[in-house]
Symmetry: D3
Subunit: 255 residues, 6 copies
C-alpha cells in the first residue's frame, strides 16, 4: 500500500489483514518561512519524506497541513491551531487507524512547533493502550549531514537546511532573489535567552525577516542529500516498528 | 493568488493588501465509499472544485482531509475526528486568515457528515465578529443537473454522482469491476426512518456495501458536467462575497 | 405510568421492573415566534404530544424547555443554551433513566434548532452502549397532512402549522389580531441561500417579523388534526421500540 | 407579566422596556423522595412558589426540572445532570434574559443539591458583569415557622416540611399510606459525619428509605403556611431587587 | 512515615506495602486575612494540623497552597484558582496516590471556600471507585471549644479563632498592632443575606477590613487548644479510616 | 518582601505599590528520584533557589509542589497532574498576581517534565496581555559548571547534579548507601531514541533504577556551587526583568 486515501475500504481491509503494519501520518504547518520560502514548507517536506519510502507494509495517511504556529502569527499567511486542537485532531486520526487494527504509527513531522503536542498525543494513545505512535521529525537523524553540509548541528527556521529541502522538492517555490534579504534580517539561531530563561515567545522577538539561520547556504543538491537521508532513516524506523510485537510497545506495569 | 501554501509570507501580505478578498478552504473526509470508490473521495472532490476556480481574488487554503465520519467507522480505512475537534480545527484556521485581514471565506465541503460542525463553526466566527465563512457543499447548487443526469434530487453516498466525480477527477481510482457489487449491496437512499424518527445512526444500519444510491449510473462525462457546474457556482458565490462589505455580513443588533 | 415526576421512587421501581419500556422526553425552546405566537410554542407542542399518548409502557419525563435558539437572539424573550450544554443536559437525563434499566427512549422535539444537538446526543449514548434514544420531531411524519392542510411539505417558523398547533392546544395564547402583521413581515421559507450556500445564520437575516411561512393559514381545527396525527405516529414509534430487543438497537461491530 | 413563555416576543419587548425588572427562574430536581412523595417534589415546590408571587415587575421563566442529584442515583427514577452542565444550562438561560435588558434575577430553588452549582453560576454572571442572579431556596427564610411547625431549624429530605408542601400543592401526589414506612427507614438528619468529616456522599450511606426527617409530621395546612411564608419572602426579595440600581449590584473594584 | 516528599521511591514502596494506610493532603489558600493576619493563614494552619499527627500509618503529602478565593480578589495578595482547576489538581494528586495502593485519604482543609470543590472531587474519586477521600476542615469538630473560647459556634474569617491559630503556630506573623483596625472594619458574621437570599458574593460586599468576627479575641494559648483539639480529631478520623475495609467505603449499588 | 504568604494584605498592597516588581513562583514535582534521593527533590530545589535571592523587589509565592510526572508513574510515591491542570493552576496563580499589579514573573522550575506546560502557560498569559512570566529552570544557565563539575552538559535525572543539590540543601535526605544501587540501574542518559524517534515515553522504558546519569558523582560541595550559581543567575534575571517596561515585554503587533 502507499496512500490510504487512494484505496477502497475493501482493498484497505485486505491490506490491514495482511501486509500493512504501520500507519505513517505527515504533519506540518502553514506559516511564514521568510521572504524566500513558501508558507507550506513544513508540510510539503513532511509529506514528501513520508511518501518517499517504498515499502508495502505502510499506509501513508493524508497530510495534516496546519499545526501549532501561534508564534509566527504576526506574519501574513500564517495559519495555526491551538495545541489542544492539533493534539486531538492527530490523536483521533491515529485512534481511527488503530480501530482497524493498524496500531503502530509514525508521525512524520515537519514543524518544530508541533513537537510538544505530538508528544502529548503519542503518550496518551499509548497510556490508553490504543496505539503506539512515534513522533519523528525529518531532521532528527541526519547522521552528521547537517554538520557536513551546513556546519551546524540543529535546524533553524527557513535556514539553509529548509531552503535546500524545498529547492529539491519544489524548486520553483524558492524565491531565489529574496534569499539575501531573508538572510540579512535573520537571527543567528532560534529563540532569545536571558540568563537561561527563554524569553523569545514569538519569532518577532528575535528575528526581523522571520528567519533563523543562513538561507543562502541552501541548494537543491544539498536538499537531495537531506531528503535521501531522511527517507532512509524513516524506512529504518518503520522496519524497526514492524519487528516489535505491539504488546512490547505498551507501557510497563507498576513496579 | 491560487494556493496559499505556495506563497511566501511577503507575497501573501502584498496580495492580502490588494487583490485577495476571500479564503477558500476545502474540507472532506477519509471514509468508506464502498468497494469501488477510494476512501479519499470527499476531500479529493472538494479540493478539485476549490482549486478549479480561476480568480485572482481568492486564496485557496490547504485541504482539511479528515472530517466527521464516525458513522462509517465499522468499515476499514475510515478515519474520523470528533465533531468538536473538527469544528475547532476548521474554525482556528479561518480565524488565522481573518487575523491577516482576509475575513470572508467559503468552506468548500465534500462530506455531508461535516455540515453540522461547519455550520456551528461558521456561526461562531460570525457571532464573534471575526469572519464570515459560508459553508458550501459542491453538490448544493446543481441547477437541475442531478435530475437530468441521475434522475434524483439529492446526493447519496458513493452513488452515481460521486462515482462520476471521481471518474472525472481521478479515473484510475474507480474500481470499475466493483461497481456492480457496490450497487448490489446498496441502500436505495440514505438513512433509515421509523415513523418519522431517524434510526439509522451508522451506515451499517441501512446498507450492506456502505453505498446509498446507484454507483453504476456514474461516468466520467457526467462527472465533468458536475465538476464544471460546481466550479461555476463556486465562482459565482465568491463573486457575490467579494461584493459584500464585511460589516454587512455581520449579525444584526438586537431588535 | 404517565408522568415520571408524579411517581414515587418505589412506584417507579415497580413500573421499571414491569410495564415501562420506553422513556419519552419532551424538548423545545423558548424563542420568538413572531408577534402572534407565544415564546413557549415549541416546548408546549412537544409536551402536549408527548403527554398525548395513552400507553402503560412509557414514562414521560419533565420537559426540557430551553434549547438551541441563538439564531433568534435578536428578538426579545428568546432564551438559549449552547448546543453542547443542551446536548449534555439531555444526554445526562437519558443516561440517568438508562441507569434504572429504561434504556430505550424517544426525544419528542418541538424545535428544529435542537435537531443537530439531539442527533449527536443520541449517537453518543448509543456508541457508549448506554441507551437508544430516537430523536423525533412532532412534524416529521405527517402522512400528507401538511400538503393537504397547508399546501406545503415542510414546516416553517411560526407559520400556519405552528399557529394551528397552538390554536388547538392553548387557543388564548394566539394573538389573532397580530397574525396579519406576522405574515406581512414573514419570509416565504426558512433561511437564505446564495449560490447554494446557506447564508441565513440568524432569523434576522431573512425575516422582518421573525416568521417564515403563512401564519394566517392556521386554525384550531387544523391543529387538532396535526396533533392527532403526531400522537398517533408517536404511539406507533413507541410501539416499534418496545418490540426491539435492546441489543438489536446497538451499533454493529467492525466489519 | 407572569409567565414569560406565554408572551409573544413583541409583548415581551414592551414589558422589558417598561414594567419588568426581575427574572424569576424555578429550579428543582427529579429524585427520590422516599416511598411517599413524588420524584418531582423539588421542582413542583419551586415552580409553585415562583408562580405564586403576584407582581407586574417579574417574568417567571420555565422551570429547569432536573438538577444535581447524583447522590440519590441508587434510587429508581432519580434523574441528574453533572454540576457543570446544570450550572451552564442555568447560566446561559439567565444570560439570555440579560441580553434583553432584564439583568436582575432570582433563582427560586427547591433542591439543596443545586446550591453549590447555583452559587458558582451566580458568581460567574456577576463577575462577568452580565447579570445579578440571587439564588434563593424556598425554605431559606421561614421566620421561625420551621421551629413552630416542626420543631426543627433546617430542612431534611422528604421530611415533614416537604411532605407538607406537596400536601398543600398537590395533595393527591402524597402516598399517605407510605408515610409510616418512609419514616421508619429515615435518618434523623441529613448526612453522616465521622470526627467532623462528612462521609455521607450518597443518601444510601445514611438512610434506608431515602428520607431524612419525620414525614408523618407533615400536613396540608402546615404546607399552606410554608407556601405563604415562602411566597411572601420571595415577594420581598424581588421588591428589594427592583430598588437596587443594577450597577450597585456589581462587584466592587480592586481595593 | 511522615512526609511523603522526604521518602525515596523505594522507601515509599516498602511503606505502602506495609504500614501506610491513609494519605493526608493539606489544602488552604493564599488570600487576604485582614490587616493583622498573613495571607497564608489557611494553608499554614492546614499544614500544621496535618503534620501534627503522630502516626506511622499515614503519609502526609505536600501542601496545595492556593485554593478557591475569587471572593477575596479585591484585596492585595489574594491568589486564586478556578474551582474546576483546584478540584482537578487535588483529584489528580489523590488519584496518583491511589495508583500506588494508598486509596484512603483525608484532605485537611484550612479554607472554607475550598469546601464545595473538595466535595465534588471526593465524590468523583469515590464514584469512579479510585479512592475514598474525606474532606475535613480543621475547625469541623471542636467539641465545644469554639463556644468555650470564643462564645461562637462557627468560624468567621480572620476572626479570633484564626488569629489564635496563627498566634500559636507562627506568632511573629500576627501584626498585633493591626488587630484593632481589623476588628473595627469587620463584619459581625460571614456573608450578607436579604430575605433569605445570599447576596454577599465577595467579601467586599459585607466587610470593610476583609474580616468577619472579632480578631482581638484571639490568643496563642487559645490557639494551642484549638490546634491540639484539631490534631486529636484528625488522629481519630485517620484511625477510623484505617479500620474500614476499602470496599466498605465505596458507593452502594443500585437499590 | 520575601515570602508573599507571610505578608498581610495591607502590607502586600504597600509593597506592590512600591518596591515589588517581580513575582517568583517555584514549581517542581513529587516523583521518583531513584533509591537514593527523595521524592520531593525537584520542588525542594526550586523552592530553595527561589528563596535564595536576596532582593527587595520580588515576592516569592508558595511552591506548587506537584507537576507533570506521568512518565514516572510506575514508581511508588510519584504524584502527577495532567499537563492542562498544571498549566491552568500555575497560570491562574500568576494571573491573580497580575490583577494586583505585579505583572512580571519568573517561574523557578525544578522539573524538566513541567517545561512544555510552563511554556504554554507563559505564552498564553503574554498573548492575553495579562502578565510576562519567564519560565526558568535552575540548571539552565550554569556557565560551564556542569562541564567542570560533572563532565556533562545537560542534566539527567537523579544524577550527580541533582544528588549534589539535595546534598547541599538537605543532606540527611540523601540515602548515601543507595547511591551505588541507583547508579548500577541507571541509564547513561535520558530517554531512548530509535532512528531519531523518541520512543522512551516512560522512565521504565530506559532505566532500571529510575535514574539517568551518575549519582555517585554528587557531593554537597558541588551542590553548594550549583546552588550559588543558580541563585546568582536568578538574581540577574530578575534584575533584567525589573528594568524592562511592561509594555516592552508584550507581543509585537501584526507586521
Amino acid at each position: 500500500m502507499r496512500l490510504l486515501h487512494e484505496q477502497t475500504t475493501t482493498g484497505a481491509g485486505d491490506l490491514f489483514d495482511g501486509e500493512v503494519e504501520v500507519a505513517v501520518l505527515p504533519t506540518g504547518s502553514v506559516e511564514q518561512h521568510g521572504p524566500a520560502l513558501p508558507l507550506g514548507t513544513d508540510f510539503l517536506a513532511a509529506e514528501a519524506v513520508a511518501r518517499g519510502i517504498d515499502r508495502e507494509d505502510v499506509a501513508v495517511l493524508p497530510t495534516v497541513p496546519v499545526g501549532v504556529s501561534t508564534h509566527h502569527r504576526q506574519f501574513d499567511g500564517t495559519l495555526w491551531a491551538d495545541p489542544e486542537t492539533f493534539e486531538d485532531y492527530v490523536g483521533e486520526i491515529l485512534a481511527s487507524m488503530a480501530s482497524h487494527g493498524v496500531r503502530k504509527a509514525v508521525v512524520v513531522n515537519g514543524h518544530g512547533g508541533n513537537v510538544d503536542a505530538l508528544s502529548r498525543c503519542a503518550r496518551r494513545l499509548r497510556t490508553d493502550r490504543l496505539a503506539f505512535a512515534a513522533p519523528w521529525n525529518w531532521w532528527s537523524s541526519l547522521d552528521g549531514l547537517d554538520e557536513e553540509l551546513f556546519g551546524q548541528s540543529d535546524i533553524g527556521h527557513a535556514d539553509g537546511m529548509e531552503t535546500s529541502m524545498v529547492a529539491h522538492l519544489a524548486g520553483d517555490l524558492v524565491r531565489e532573489a529574496a534569499l539575501e534579504e531573508a538572510e540579512a534580517g535573520a537571527a543567528d539561531s532560534w529563540g532569545r535567552s536571558v540568563h537561561g530563561a527563554e524569553v523569545g515567545f514569538d519569532v518577532t522577538d528575535f528575528s526581523e525577516s522571520g528567519v533563523a539561520g543562513r538561507p543562502t547556504d541552501g541548494s537543491a543538491e544539498k536538499g537531495r542529500k537531506l531528503y535521501e537521508q531522511a527517507v532512509s532513516e524513516l524506512d529504518a524506523l518503520v522496519g524497526w516498528l514492524t519487528e516489535q510485537p505491539f504488546d512490547a510497545l505498551l507501557p510497563e506495569p507498576h513496579r
